[in-house]
């Protein structure tokens, strides 16, 4: 829990620093964060290479586990439908000016907030694009902050499913720290497959309006 609080503290610090506007330009460029992300992945790779049990870890995984990306995608859509039908009626009208396909498109970002929000802004305008950005950032934050709880409540596969397309990079360290190194291969495979489907499924729901 202490680790999660430090993570939130750094994010809040970033928001405050961004609002003050006193940050140097290079800190805000996407190039800088890309370099940091590459460095992070290099470290993740090194930790995989240093682990001598990697081969037996992959072999110890159940073949049925390859279906995990399908569970992630269908689960997200189930969630979108549940939210739409619960919040778009006479009792609760929070989502009353959204269509079902809007909700499905937003939740098809699978935490890949940069790409999904760009696509949705292009097809459905900046308002839904902003919702997509926020919703998918929140999904990544939920995974970063609640991974220990998700693993406790829903088993070791849940944090990987929750992380969506980010499980091969940003959320990989926290997931493997919680559920163990033997899930590194699954986590990368899951992130790769989910990430690859984002442009296709987001476009599909946006054009089905």
């Amino acid at each position: 829990m202490k680790g999660s609080l430090i993570v939130v503290a750094f994010f809040v610090l970033g928001v405050l620093a961004g609002r003050s506007g006193g940050m140097p330009e290079w800190m805000l460029s996407s190039g800088t964060s890309f370099v940091a992300l590459c460095a992070l992945l290099l470290c993740v790779g090194i930790s995989i290479g240093l682990n001598p049990d990697m081969k037996s870890d992959i072999k110890s995984l159940n073949p049925r586990i390859a279906l995990l990306p399908v569970a992630t995608i269908l689960g997200s859509w189930m969630g979108a439908m549940a939210a739409f039908f619960l919040m778009n009626n006479d009792v609760c009208s929070l989502l009353h000016h959204r269509q079902l396909t809007d909700c499905l498109a937003v939740d098809s970002g699978f935490a890949y907030y940069s790409l999904s929000s760009i696509f949705i802004t292009e097809y459905r305008g900046a308002e839904l694009g902003t919702i997509a950005l926020l919703a998918n950032i929140i999904r990544e934050m939920i995974t970063l902050l609640l991974t220990p709880l998700l693993a406790k409540w829903f088993g070791p596969l849940a944090p990987i499913s929750s992380g969506g397309a980010t499980t091969m990079d940003t959320t990989l360290p926290i997931i493997t720290q919680t559920v163990g190194q033997r899930y590194v291969a699954l986590s990368i495979y899951h992130g790769f497959v989910t990430d690859f489907t984002v442009p296709f499924v987001v476009t599909m729901w946006c054009t089905l309006a």
Partner: protein, 97 residues
């Protein structure tokens, strides 16, 4: 995207080389690597915060659009977790047989 994947494989190769060449130092290297990883996660989240904080439109729209985003992200995450739990349970049943 491919550059990002490339760095993972580069790291794996580097880690594997370190493990075979400097076998006695694996513990120290692993601890140092873990520490650097933690700092990079903090840096990246700080930069995500910078991106949100420096976008005035995003900050102004946060309260209204934020609630909708919250509902949609929580529902998607929960739906995924429930199916992941079902898959995990079905595998455990398979193992018992």
């Amino acid at each position: 995207m491919f550059i990002v994947i490339l760095f993972i494989f580069l790291g794996i190769a580097l880690g594997y080389t370190l493990r075979t060449r400097l076998a006695s130092k694996v513990g120290v290297i692993g601890a140092l690597n873990g520490r650097i990883t933690t700092w990079l996660i903090w840096l990246l989240l700080f930069m995500l915060g910078l991106e949100v904080g420096s976008n005035k439109q995003l900050i102004a729209a946060l309260p209204t659009l934020g609630v909708e985003a919250m509902v949609l992200s929580v529902s998607a995450t929960l739906g995924s977790c429930v199916l992941a739990w079902a898959l995990w349970k079905s595998m455990k049943v398979g193992e018992k047989r």
